[in-house]
C-alpha cells in the first residue's frame, strides 16, 4: 500500500504551497525516498547517515512503501545488493558515509562500469584513522573519479530537492550511471530546518519508474551482466563512460531546472552569491556556504568587492559554468575540506586550476584547507581568507602552499 493509494489524490494541476516541515537533512532524504518508492533499498548504518535508514525503516514498518529494504551486513554488501537489484530491473538506492564509502569502493566502480543507475545518498564524513565521525570531504574526494555524477547540496532543503531529481538523472538513457546526492554529515544530516516537501503524487509523477532496456528479470531474458573485458574492449567501455559523464551535465541542469520549476526553488550547477560586481571570490562546496556567505557579507560591509561561488555539481565538473562565474575575477580563494596528500594541489584547487588554465585572464588561485574532521570554521576565519585573497589580487603572487584555516 503506497501513500498515494492511501491519500487517493491525483496530481493537481496548480501546485499549492507545499507543506513545510521542521526536519533534518537525513529525514528529508528519507522522505524523498519514500515518495520515490524504489524497488530496493539496501544500506548499513553508519554515523551520520543513520538517520536516513532509520527513518526509511519506519516507512517500511508502517507499510508506506513497496520497497524491499535489505538490512545488509556491510556497505560493500549494500552496493552489491543495489547492483543485483538494478541489473535485475529494479530501482535501488543506498546511503552511507566516509568509512562505509571506503568499504564499498570496489563496487562504486562496478556500478558505474556496469552502467547501473543506482542512487546513493552520501553523508560526508572523514576517513579513519584516527577515527573521526564528523564531516569533511575526504569521502567526496575519494570517489570523485569513479564515474558517478555527484551533486552536493548545502541544506536539508537542497538534500531533499536533489533527492527528488536524482533517479531521473541516473536513469536518463544518455547517462545510465549511478549518482551521488551528497549532504554534509551533521551540518545537513542532523540540522533541523524548515523543509518544504512536495506532495507524494507530484514526486511520483516526476520520478516515474525505472524502465531499463535490458534487465535480468525481464521475461525471456538471456543477458549476461558484468562480462569480462580483456584488452580488446575495456578501453572502449571506459570511453563510453566519458561520454555518459559528459552527457550527464546537461541532464543534471535540465532535471534541476525541472524540480526547481515545481518547487519554486531554482537550482543551478554552480550557485553564485554577489558575483555581479565582485573582483575576488571564494569557491566552496556544500554546507559551509552559510558561514562563507556571512563572511562575504561582512567583507562587503567593509567595502571589499567579494563574491562566492558554490559548486553544486561536483562531478562532472561544470567547467564552462565555473569559468563563466569567474570571468573577470582577479583572485579566487578555493576552500578545500579534504587533503589530497602529496599532490600539487588539493581536490577543489586541482579542479579550479584545470578549469581556468586556458582563460585569457585567468584568476589567481589560492587554496585554503578547512574543517577537517568536523573542525568548526567560524566566520572570522573565512573573513581572514577574504583578506588574503584580496592581498593576492594586489600582489599578483600565487602561493605554492595552501593555508590551513583554524589549524592550531
Amino acid at each position: 500500500m503506497t501513500t498515494t493509494q492511501k491519500q487517493g489524490q491525483k496530481p493537481s494541476s496548480g501546485i499549492t504551497l507545499p507543506p513545510a516541515q521542521a526536519i533534518n537533512g537525513g529525514e528529508a532524504v528519507a522522505y524523498a525516498m519514500r515518495q520515490i518508492d524504489p524497488e530496493v533499498v539496501a544500506a548499513y548504518p553508519i554515523t551520520p547517515q543513520t538517520f536516513i535508514i532509520e527513518k526509511f525503516s519506519e516507512y517500511v514498518a508502517d507499510g508506506l512503501v513497496n520497497t524491499e529494504y535489505i538490512n545488509v551486513e556491510s556497505e560493500h554488501a549494500a552496493m552489491s545488493a543495489c547492483v543485483g537489484a538494478t541489473a535485475a530491473g529494479g530501482r535501488a538506492q543506498t546511503a552511507t558515509s566516509g568509512p562505509g564509502l571506503a568499504l564499498m569502493y570496489e563496487m562504486l566502480w562496478v556500478a558505474s562500469g556496469m552502467r547501473l543507475p543506482i542512487v546513493m545518498h552520501l553523508c560526508s564524513r572523514s576517513f579513519s584513522a584516527p577515527l573521526n565521525i564528523l564531516c569533511d570531504h575526504s569521502d567526496v574526494m575519494g570517489m570523485r573519479e569513479s564515474s558517478w555524477p555527484m551533486l552536493i547540496g548545502s541544506s536539508p532543503q537542497e538534500a531533499y530537492d536533489q533527492a527528488v531529481a536524482m533517479p531521473t538523472i541516473a536513469e536518463n538513457k544518455s547517462v545510465l550511471l549511478p549518482v551521488a546526492n551528497v549532504l554534509d554529515g551533521f551540518t545537513v544530516t542532523h540540522s533541523v530546518e524548515r523543509v518544504e516537501v512536495l506532495p507524494d503524487e507530484v514526486v511520483k509523477e516526476f520520478a516515474g519508474e525505472y524502465e531499463p532496456d535490458i534487465w535480468a528479470l525481464q521475461p525471456g531474458s538471456t543477458a549476461t551482466f558484468g562480462t569480462l573485458d580483456a584488452n580488446d574492449f575495456y578501453f572502449e567501455h571506459k570511453r563510453q563512460q566519458v561520454e555518459a559523464m559528459k552527457n550527464s551535465l546537461e541532464v543534471v541542469r535540465t532535471q534541476l531546472n525541472a524540480v526547481g520549476e515545481i518547487t519554486g526553488r531554482p537550482m543551478n550547477l554552480v550557485e553564485e552569491y554577489l558575483m555581479d560586481d565582485a573582483e575576488i571570490a571564494l569557491v566552496v562546496l556544500g554546507s559551509s556556504e552559510g558561514m562563507v556567505r556571512a563572511a562575504i557579507d561582512q567583507a562587503r560591509a567593509d567595502g571589499i568587492k567579494v563574491g562566492m561561488v558554490r559548486i553544486r555539481l561536483f562531478r562532472p565538473f561544470p567547467v564552462a559554468d565555473v569559468r563563466k562565474a569567474l570571468e573577470g575575477i582577479g583572485a579566487v580563494g578555493v576552500l578545500d575540506r579534504a587533503i589530497a596528500f602529496g599532490t600539487p594541489g588539493n581536490g577543489l584547487l586541482q579542479d579550479l586550476a584545470t578549469s581556468t588554465r586556458t582563460m585569457p585572464d585567468r584568476p589567481l588561485l589560492m587554496d585554503f584547507v578547512y574543517g577537517l574532521g568536523g573542525r568548526a570554521t567560524p566566520k572570522q576565519l573565512f573573513r581572514q581568507a577574504v583578506d588574503e585573497v584580496l592581498n593576492m589580487n594586489e600582489t599578483r603572487v600565487e602561493p605554492d602552499e595552501p593555508a590551513y584555516l583554524g589549524l592550531k
Partner: protein, 312 residues
C-alpha cells in the same frame, strides 16, 4: 520431470559450448548438470573465478540464462538484490509473479574465504536462492593458490612443498557444517562424479523454503595435478576415502546420501593427485597419518550426527 538422462537430454542446454574452461574441468560438468536438473527457469549470479572468466568474455557468453556477475566476494548479495527486486516489482504490479529459481555459482575462494561474510549475511536474511559452491580446493583461477578449503599437506603455489614445510600446514575449514549452523532448510555436499546424487540435491534445494547451499567437489586437473580424463575417477576416490562425504542436512537433520561411501584409505585418493606426491612418496609420512586420523574422526562425528538425526 524425473531425473532420467534420456529425458533430460531432450531439454535444451542452458550452458553452451566454446567456453574456455580447461579440458576435463569438473566445473562445467556440474554446472550443466545443475542447470539441467532445475525445474524452474534460473536467474544466475556468478562470482569472479574460473567459471566466470571462461564463459563471459565480452561480447560473448556461454550462458543462455540471465546472469549477473559483479565481483568476487558478493554473489550471494547480488542474488539477494535480485530476489528483493523481484518481490518489489511483483508487489508493485510491474511484473507477473512466475516460478523462477535464483542460483549462485561461486568457487571455494569466493565461498570459504573472501565472500564468507556476504554469504553468511544473505543466508541469515533468508533470501530464497540456491547457492552452489564449486569447490576445487584452491584459487585455481589465479594460478593454484591455497584456500581454506585446501587439504592438509597439499601443494599449491602459496603452500609449496619444501624441507621446512610440506605443503599446506592447516586442516581445511568445514564450510558445509558452518553453513548448516545457519539453520537454513537445505544444505548438502555433492561431488562431480555422481550426477544423480547432485541432481537430486539440486531438485531438493530448489524446492526448499528458503536459502539452500550445495557444496560440490569439482576436482581440478590442473591444480590437483592429474590427467584430464581422470576427473570423475578422482572425484569418486575422494568420496570413497572419506575425504568428501556425500550427505545432506534437511531442516537440521543430517543424512548420508547413497550407498556405503567410505571404503578406502585416504592414501588411495592422495595417490591419484600429484599435489600430494611429496608426501605420498613415503607411505609412512606423518602428514598422511594425520590426514587419515582426522578423516576418521570427522567421519565418526558425521555418522553420529546422522544417527542422532535419525533417532529424532
Amino acid at each position: 520431470m524425473t531425473l532420467k538422462l534420456r529425458d533430460l537430454s531432450l531439454k535444451p542446454d542452458l550452458f553452451g559450448t566454446g567456453h574456455g574452461l580447461c579440458a576435463g574441468c569438473a566445473e562445467s560438468v556440474s554446472v550443466r548438470q545443475i542447470l539441467s536438473a532445475l525445474e524452474n527457469p534460473p536467474v544466475v549470479a556468478l562470482a569472479t573465478g574460473c567459471l566466470e572468466v571462461s564463459t563471459t568474455r565480452f561480447p560473448d557468453t556461454t550462458w543462455k540464462v540471465p546472469l549477473i556477475h559483479s565481483a568476487f566476494e558478493n554473489s550471494a548479495t547480488t542474488i539477494g538484490g535480485v530476489d528483493a527486486a523481484y518481490k518489489a516489482l511483483v508487489r508493485k504490479g510491474r511484473m507477473e509473479d512466475r516460478p523462477l529459481t535464483f542460483v549462485v555459482f561461486a568457487g571455494d575462494g569466493a565461498t570459504y574465504d573472501i565472500g564468507f561474510q556476504w554469504l553468511s549475511g544473505a543466508l541469515e536474511r533468508g533470501h530464497k536462492f540456491v547457492y552452489i559452491c564449486l569447490n576445487n580446493e584452491g584459487y585455481m583461477n589465479t594460478g593454484i593458490q591455497r584456500s581454506s578449503a585446501t587439504l592438509l599437506g597439499a601443494w599449491t603455489t602459496t603452500t609449496p612443498s619444501g624441507d621446512a614445510r610440506p605443503g599446506k600446514p592447516e586442516w581445511h575449514k568445514d564450510m558445509t557444517k558452518i553453513i548448516a549452523a545457519h539453520n537454513i532448510p537445505y544444505v548438502a555436499q555433492a561431488a562431480a562424479h555422481n550426477w544423480k546424487d547432485l541432481m537430486t540435491k539440486v531438485r531438493k534445494a530448489e524446492q526448499a523454503d528458503g536459502p539452500a547451499f550445495i557444496n560440490v567437489l569439482t576436482p581440478c586437473d590442473r591444480g590437483w595435478r592429474f590427467e584430464p580424463e581422470k576427473t570423475m575417477e578422482v572425484s569418486q576416490l575422494m568420496v570413497e576415502a572419506g575425504l568428501w562425504p556425500l550427505y545432506e542436512v534437511v531442516d537440521g537433520k543430517y543424512k548420508m546420501t547413497g550407498a556405503r561411501q567410505k571404503k578406502r584409505p585416504v592414501m588411495d585418493a592422495l595417490l591419484s593427485q600429484k599435489r600430494f606426491s611429496h608426501i605420498t612418496k613415503n607411505a609412512d609420512d606423518a602428514t598422511i597419518a594425520a590426514i587419515q586420523a582426522k578423516v576418521d574422526e570427522e567421519w565418526d562425528a558425521l555418522q553420529a550426527l546422522c544417527e542422532m538425526s535419525a533417532a529424532e
